[in-house]
C-alpha cells in the first residue's frame, strides 16, 4: 500500500497510524497461538519461560511432555483421542447427510415457510451452548442415551448441521438448476442425477461444511460436559479438567498437536473454498 507522492503529511501520518493499528491487531490475533509451541518443549514443569529457554540453552528444551502425552500412565489422552475421533467422525457423517438434504430442499424455490424453517435449522448455532447443553441433556437422560457415545454423537449432529446447511445452501445459491433438468430430460432418475450431476458440483461446499461439523464436534466441551461419563471422555474434556485443576505442560503438548491439526483443516478448507468459487464461476 504505497502512498502516492502527493499525499499531505497529516494523511501520511494517519496512514502509518492505521498500519500500526492493523499490525497490532494481527499480532494480537495470532501471537497467543505461538506462545504454546516453545513452552510445550519446556524441560521443566512450570508454564513459564525458564532462564535456560530465554538463553536458548538446548538442555532447557525436551520432548518429555510429548512422551508423557503418549506413554503417560495417568493420562487418559489415548482414550480421549480415540473417543474424540470416533464421535467427531460419526457426527460429521450424520451432519453431512441431514444437512445436505435439508440444504437441497431449502434451495428449491418451491420450499414453503423457508424463512422460519431456515431460522429453526440454524438455531443450534445461535442458541448459547449452555442452554443447548441443558436441553440436550434432559432429552438424552429421558431416552437413556446420557453417558453413551450414541448420545454425544446425536448431540454433535444437532450442533454440526447448521454449518453444513449454511455452506451447502451458499454453494447451491450459484447452482445452475438447468443441469439437473438436462439430466432428467436425458432419462436420469432423481437419485442418479443427484449422485452424478449435483453432488460433484456441490461437493466442495459439502466437504467444507463437513470440516466445520468435524471441528465443532472435535472442539465441543460444554454439551459433552453434561453428557459424558468416565468412559466417554474426550480431548476437550481432558483439556478442560486439566486447565481447571493442574495446568501441566502435557496440556500444551496436546494443544500444539491440536494447532497443527487445525492448520491442516484450515488449509483444506481454504483450498476447497477456492475450488468451489472456481466451479461456480466466481472469480474475485
Amino acid at each position: 500500500m504505497a502512498l502516492p507522492s502527493y499525499t499531505e503529511t497529516r494523511y501520511r501520518i494517519w496512514h502509518y497510524i492505521y498500519i500500526t493499528i492493523c499490525t497490532f491487531v494481527f499480532f494480537f490475533l495470532i501471537a497467543p497461538l505461538f506462545v504454546i509451541f516453545p513452552l510445550s518443549f519446556n524441560a521443566e514443569e512450570f508454564l513459564v519461560f525458564s532462564e535456560g529457554m530465554k538463553n536458548l540453552d538446548p538442555d532447557a528444551f525436551s520432548l518429555r511432555w510429548y512422551k508423557d502425552m503418549i506413554y503417560g500412565t495417568k493420562n487418559p489422552w489415548g482414550l480421549a483421542a480415540k473417543n474424540s475421533f470416533i464421535i467427531a467422525i460419526f457426527a460429521t457423517i450424520g451432519s453431512i447427510i441431514l444437512g445436505t438434504l435439508a440444504a437441497l430442499g431449502l434451495s428449491s424455490r418451491h420450499m414453503p415457510y423457508k424463512g422460519i424453517i431456515m431460522a429453526t435449522l440454524i438455531s443450534p448455532m445461535i442458541v448459547p451452548l449452555i442452554i443447548s447443553g441443558v436441553a440436550i441433556f434432559f432429552f438424552m437422560a429421558k431416552v437413556g442415551l446420557a453417558a453413551t457415545h450414541a448420545g454425544i454423537v446425536l448431540a454433535h449432529i444437532i450442533l454440526g448441521t447448521p454449518f453444513v446447511v449454511i455452506t451447502v445452501t451458499a454453494t447451491l445459491s450459484g447452482f445452475d438448476h438447468s443441469v439437473t433438468r438436462a439430466a432428467a430430460s436425458l432419462g436420469s432418475n432423481p437419485v442418479n442425477t443427484f449422485m452424478k450431476v449435483t453432488l460433484p458440483l456441490i461437493l466442495p461446499g459439502v466437504i467444507s461444511g463437513g470440516l466445520f461439523a468435524f471441528v465443532t464436534s472435535f472442539d465441543e466441551v460444554v454439551v459433552v460436559l453434561f453428557l459424558a461419563g468416565l468412559e466417554n471422555t474426550t480431548i476437550p474434556i481432558q483439556m478442560w479438567t486439566g486447565l481447571r485443576e493442574q495446568l501441566s505442560p502435557t496440556i500444551l503438548a496436546v494443544a500444539t498437536c491440536l494447532i497443527i491439526l487445525s492448520t491442516l483443516i484450515l488449509i483444506s478448507a481454504e483450498l476447497l473454498r477456492r475450488r468451489s468459487e472456481r466451479l461456480r464461476g466466481i472469480n474475485r
Binding site: 430442499g105 444437532i158 487445525s262
Partner: protein, 420 residues
C-alpha cells in the same frame, strides 16, 4: 383472468392453471420432504427439550400432588385468619399419607423454600403422627396447633396456600432477585443479596464491551484485508482464520499462560518498566482476563462479515469522493462508512449473541468477578442440582438471545451468515 375467458388446456385436456398448480404442489412436497428429516430430528431432540425446560422451570406439581385434600379445602378459605377445622383435618390426612410413604421430609423441604421454619415444624408434626398421638375423634385443629406455635400462625398457612397452583413463577423471580412475600406480593430481595441482577448486568456489560472492542479492532483490519492486493491479503487472512479454526480451549489455554502473574505479558510490562517486578498486576481470574481473551476469540466473527461486505465496495467510489473535493476523511465518512453498515450490523450482532452466552472462557480466566450468567446456569445444573432454576435462568437468557437473533434475521438474514 376471469373464469369466462377461454382456458388454455394442456395436451391431456386439463386446464393449464390446474396442471401447473399440481406440479407446484408436487415440487413443494418434494422440497419439504428433503428438509423433513433434519427438521424432525431437531424438533424431537432440540426444540421439544427446550420446551421441556420451560415446563420444568415453572413446574410445582410435586406439592400439589402431595396435599390434594388440603388444597381442595383451602379453596373455601379466604386466607385472612387461621383456616377452619376442615383445612386442618384435610392437611392431617394428607400428611398421614405422606408419612406412610415416607415423603414428609420432601414436603418440609419444599415448604421451607416458601417460608423458613417449616422444616422443623413438619418434623415435629411427623413425630406426633408417627406415635399416633393425634386422636382422630376430637378436633384435629386444636391438636395440630398444640404441636408448635408456628402451626398457630396464619402466615404459615398462607404460605401453604400459595403453593397450591401446580405452576409457579418463583424461579423466574429468583433469577431477577425477587420473591413472593408473605402476602403473595412480589418483593425484591435485600440489596446486599441481589447476586443475579449483578450477573445479568455484568453479562450485558461484558458482551457490550467485547462487541465494541471487536468492532474497533476488526474494522481496520477488515478494511486492510479488503483493500490489499490478493496475494498479501490471502496471507494476512490466515491470521484471522487460524484462530477461527483453532480449538477454543487451546486459545483459552494460551491466554492463561500469557496473562498469569509470571506470564509473558507481565514479563513484558516489567521489562519496559511499566510495573515493578514485585507488584505484577493480576490480569487473570478477573474481568480483564475475560475481556482480553473473549475479544481475541470472537474477533474473527467480526472481521469475516465486515470483510465480505467491504470486498464488494468498489475502490472507485472513494476516488470519486476525493475527486469531488472531499478530503480522505470526508470521503471515508460520507461514502465508505455508510456502505459498510450492513457488515457492521452483522458482525456486531453475531459477536454480541456469541458473547452473551459465553461459558468456557469466563469459567477458566474469569475468576469470581469475570463470570457470566452461563456460569451460574452451569453451577446450578452441576453443583446445587436446582435444575428448574437453571432452566428458568437459561430461558431468560434464551429469550434475550432470540430477540437479537430475530433482529439479526430481519437485518441480515440467517442465510447470509458467512463462514470463512
Amino acid at each position: 383472468m376471469s373464469s369466462e375467458t377461454k382456458q388454455i388446456l394442456t395436451t391431456d385436456g386439463i386446464p393449464l392453471e390446474v396442471s401447473l398448480k399440481k406440479a407446484e404442489k408436487k415440487n413443494k412436497i418434494k422440497a419439504f420432504l428433503l428438509v423433513a428429516p433434519l427438521l424432525l430430528f431437531l424438533i424431537i431432540t432440540y426444540v421439544f427439550p427446550i420446551g421441556e425446560m420451560f415446563s420444568r422451570s415453572i413446574d410445582d406439581k410435586m406439592i400439589t400432588n402431595m396435599l390434594p385434600k388440603t388444597f381442595k379445602e383451602m379453596e373455601k378459605w379466604d386466607g385472612q385468619e387461621l383456616p377452619p377445622e376442615e383445612v386442618f383435618t384435610a392437611f392431617y390426612y394428607d400428611f398421614k399419607v405422606l408419612v406412610e410413604k415416607q415423603e414428609h421430609g420432601k414436603l418440609g423441604q419444599r415448604l421451607n423454600k416458601e417460608k423458613n421454619g417449616f422444616n422443623s415444624i413438619t418434623k415435629k408434626l411427623f413425630r406426633q403422627v408417627k406415635r399416633k398421638k393425634i386422636d382422630e375423634s376430637i378436633s384435629i385443629k386444636e391438636q395440630i396447633m398444640k404441636v408448635h406455635k408456628r402451626w398457630r400462625t396464619v402466615e404459615y398457612w398462607q404460605a401453604i396456600k400459595r403453593t397450591a397452583p401446580p405452576y409457579t413463577m418463583s424461579k423466574y423471580l429468583k433469577g431477577m432477585d425477587m420473591y413472593y412475600a408473605a402476602d403473595g406480593s412480589i418483593t425484591q430481595v435485600d440489596e446486599d443479596r441481589r447476586i443475579h441482577r449483578i450477573l445479568w448486568l455484568r453479562t450485558l456489560e461484558i458482551a457490550f464491551f467485547v462487541t465494541l472492542f471487536c468492532f474497533l479492532m476488526g474494522y481496520p483490519i477488515a478494511h486492510l484485508l479488503a483493500t490489499l492486493p490478493m496475494k498479501y491479503s490471502n496471507l494476512l487472512m490466515i491470521c484471522v482464520l487460524l484462530p477461527f479454526w483453532t480449538s477454543l480451549l487451546v486459545r483459552t489455554a494460551s491466554w492463561m499462560i500469557l496473562l498469569q502473574q509470571q506470564g509473558v505479558v507481565n514479563d513484558f510490562f516489567v521489562m519496559i518498566g511499566l510495573v515493578g517486578d514485585d507488584n505484577r498486576p493480576e490480569m487473570m481470574y478477573n474481568k480483564v482476563g475475560t475481556y482480553v481473551a473473549m475479544t481475541q476469540i470472537l474477533l474473527p466473527f467480526m472481521v469475516l462479515p465486515l470483510y465480505s461486505v467491504m470486498k464488494t465496495i468498489s475502490p472507485s467510489l472513494m476516488r470519486a469522493g476525493k475527486s469531488l473535493g472531499g478530503t480522505p476523511f470526508v470521503a471515508f465518512w460520507k461514502v465508505y462508512f455508510p456502505l459498510t453498515i450492513p457488515g457492521i450490523g452483522a458482525g456486531c450482532l453475531l459477536v454480541f449473541i456469541l458473547a452473551i452466552g459465553y461459558y468456557i472462557t469466563p469459567a477458566l480466566v474469569g475468576g469470581a468477578s469475570g463470570t457470566l450468567i452461563s456460569n451460574q446456569i452451569a453451577f446450578h445444573m452441576k453443583q446445587t442440582l436446582d435444575w428448574s432454576f437453571a432452566s428458568a435462568m437459561g430461558l431468560m437468557l434464551l429469550s434475550g438471545v432470540l430477540v437479537i437473533y430475530w433482529i439479526y434475521n430481519k437485518l441480515v438474514g440467517v442465510d447470509n451468515i458467512k463462514l470463512g
